[in-house]
């Protein structure tokens, strides 16, 4: 319910910004009513969102949610069944070649010609784009300089992914699409990739990425869109989403069934028993005093008192409700 409300409000903002889009440059990507099905599978079942200039926007969602289908429609790699898209002023499907001169793309599962080295790959793309060859600089940026002369097939997964980023950067785009840039990388390599993404953001690039990693979305993104079953079920800043969809703060306090029932009766707050404690999803700090009073009145000894906040991950699992799908 709340999810729908949030996206509708986003939608309104979006419609307004769309009207002014030609004058203001602060929206890089906008999509309205995006749909795509493969035979009986509704991979994308009506998605609306926008990405503002200079922000990092993450599409989060379980496997098969429709992230890649969405991003590839934005990249002009797939034709939408319905909806309209504007990427940096272009219709990606009709204007694919002109748009791609302005944007950089790492597709999911980036791959390259096996016996070509990173240096050669970057020179090749530079010639194709008609720009000066910055292979040294780009390889430096992603920390791949020492692999300049190693053939692609001999690079590690993380090094391949870094080359993907270099190739996406060849035409010095202001807008980058990164589909799962860190999937399959070890924690160290992922953090390296994060550093690069932060560097790019600091240079003012707009970045749309997809990921399965909640903490990655949380640390990197200005805003997050949670996609499930082809729909955008939540979008906003991580804090917004936690606030909107999460229960906010949780008070863990000593108690039992009886106490839980009393608390629920008195405050109407959701309350669960957890061993010798109860967990109450509080809505404001004033709830705490009231709950403590009830506990004291019940004669329960106060051994535990802890206030915790729900993480994006917990909220995500609650929204998506398909824990087993998350890697």
């Amino acid at each position: 319910m709340q999810a729908k409300r949030l996206c509708l409000s986003e939608h309104k903002v979006f419609i307004e910004s769309r009207v002014q889009m030609h004058m203001t440059v602060n929206v890089s990507i906008s999509a309205v009513g995006l749909k795509k099905s493969y035979g009986p599978i509704n991979a994308v079942a009506g998605i609306d969102f926008e990405v503002r200039s200079g922000e990092v926007f993450s599409l989060l969602g379980p496997n098969g949610a429709g992230k890649t289908t969405t991003i590839e429609m934005l990249e002009g790699l797939r034709k939408p069944d319905a909806g309209s898209i504007n990427v940096a002023g272009f219709d990606p499907w009709k204007d694919a070649s002109r748009m791609r001169r302005k944007v950089g793309i790492i597709p999911q599962g980036f791959n390259f010609i096996p016996r070509i080295t990173p240096g050669e790959a970057i020179s090749y793309f530079s010639t194709l784009f008609g720009v000066t060859d910055r292979s040294g600089e780009l390889l430096e940026l992603v920390n791949l300089k020492e692999m300049e002369r190693t053939q692609f097939k001999d690079l590690s997964g993380g090094q391949k992914q870094k080359l993907g980023l270099c190739l996406a950067m060849v035409n010095n785009p202001d807008l980058l699409f990164l589909d799962e840039p860190t999937t399959g990388l070890d924690p160290q390599a992922r953090r390296n990739m994060w550093d690069v993404i932060r560097k790019l953001k600091a240079e003012g690039k707009t970045i749309l990425l997809t990921t399965h990693y909640l903490e990655e979305a949380e640390v990197l993104s200005d805003r997050v869109g949670i996609v499930d079953h082809g729909k955008m079920v939540a979008c906003g800043t991580p804090d917004d989403i936690i606030k909107q969809h999460g229960s906010g703060k949780i008070l863990h306090v000593s108690g039992n069934e009886t106490v839980a029932r009393k608390v629920n009766g008195a405050t109407g707050l959701h309350c669960t028993v957890d061993g010798k404690n109860i967990a109450v999803e509080i809505t404001s700090n004033s709830d705490v005093a009231q709950i403590l009073d009830i506990v004291r009145e019940s004669g329960v000894e106060l051994r535990t008192l802890q206030l915790s906040e729900e993480t994006l991950e917990e909220v995500f699992l609650k929204i998506v409700g398909r824990m087993e799908d998350i890697s």
Binding site: R78, S97, R100, F112, I113, R115, E120, L128, Q151
Partner: protein, 364 residues
């Protein structure tokens, strides 16, 4: 179509190609190995006896029997007989014979009376088996001359090397194997590359750049021209130096090689595009390639095949390339070559259209 894009892609594709050992082996080593193997087998360089056809028109004479016995005792030749009623020139050309000796009806009489007699010898000095037969005949006749008439030589061999004598097998092998390379190198590698780049999403990656499908194809075409050309030069060199092949290399060879390469780059692109998987592509590639590999005059002239197979050969695109190359390199018959070029060009245009209709970088 931008030349700089084509060259940039050619550079990368070529590097990727030459860094693969298989690619280099099949392009350069394999055809030379084939020439060496087939050349040795059929030119009689492999030891053993070589075929010699004899038409004995003097079978009742003792001198003729002595000559044949002498030839047999050299162990250099295996004698077969041409029927005495047959016209030797027709027989020789019809049976692709490279060494045929005629013993004239006057042979015995001339030998006993001490008169001079000439033995026509149809041969092809470019073929080593023919040379060996000639040496065997020469040595036996020298011996006979010495034994029979203690005077000066009365028996002479009269060599005929005009065009009725079959061309050397190696002469056919060179155009055949050039055709073989023009077929197999682009067909196998382009079919594979197109299906593999599709599966491994390399086309998707290339489609993110300003490179076009047409530029990519043009670069493949240029690449296979370069390597087929080099491979052809190597094969001609090997054939001429090692096996004394007599072939004419002139400008007419160029359009045939160009058209042939374009034909099979297009066909390979088509095969790789219609296949759903890499394995499927390999199957389609093999089905299309194998009949052509053997039945288009690659390893032997199609004239030695049964009539029905010769008819089949006319339906194989490679036939026109090899027939054209034979027309230029072996027979220097430019009219025949011109017709082959036109037919091959028409087939190539058809294949190119099929390729462009099915070759796509988009998944939609």
């Amino acid at each position: 179509m931008k030349l700089k894009n084509i060259i940039a892609d050619l550079n990368v594709y070529g590097k990727n190609f030459v860094r693969s050992r298989e690619g280099l082996f099949f392009t350069f080593v394999f055809p030379i190995v084939l020439i060496a193997i087939f050349g040795s087998i059929f030119s009689g360089n492999g030891g053993g006896s070589v075929p010699l056809y004899v038409q004995n028109l003097d079978s009742s004479s003792q001198a003729a029997q002595q000559l044949l016995a002498g030839l047999n005792s050299t162990h250099l030749v295996a004698i077969s007989f041409i029927p005495s009623g047959a016209n030797v020139t027709t027989y020789v050309s019809a049976h692709s014979i490279t060494a045929a000796l005629v013993i004239p009806s006057s042979f015995g009489r001339s030998v006993t009376t001490g008169g001079t007699v000439y033995l026509p010898f149809y041969n092809n000095p470019a073929v080593s088996s023919s040379q060996i037969a000639g040496q065997a005949i020469g040595s036996v006749i020298q011996q006979l001359n010495f034994n029979l008439s203690n005077a000066h030589d009365s028996i002479h061999v009269q060599p005929y090397t005009d065009s009725v004598v079959a061309q050397g097998y190696v002469d056919f092998l060179i155009p055949g194997l050039i055709g073989f390379t023009i077929l197999t190198t682009p067909m196998f590698s382009v079919t594979f590359i197109v299906s593999n780049y599709k599966k491994d999403k390399i086309f998707r990656q290339l489609s993110l750049t300003p490179l076009t499908r047409g530029e990519w194809l043009m670069s493949k075409f240029l690449w296979y021209i370069i390597i087929s050309g080099l491979s052809a030069i190597l094969m001609i060199g090997t054939g001429v130096l090692l096996f004394k092949a007599r072939v004419t290399v002139d400008l007419y060879v160029i359009p045939l090689v160009l058209i042939g390469v374009f034909m099979f780059v297009s066909l390979g692109t088509f095969a790789g595009s219609v296949a759903r998987t890499e394995e499927g592509a390999a199957v389609i590639g093999n089905i299309v390639t194998f009949p052509m590999m053997f039945l288009s005059g690659t390893f032997f002239p199609i004239s030695i095949m049964p009539q029905w197979l010769q008819t089949v050969a006319h339906f194989l695109p490679l036939y026109y390339v090899i027939d054209g190359l034979n027309a230029v390199m072996v027979y220097t018959n430019y009219t025949a070559a011109g017709i082959d070029i036109l037919v091959a060009l028409a087939i190539t245009i058809a294949f190119f259209i099929l390729a462009m209709l099915t070759f796509s970088w988009k998944e939609a």
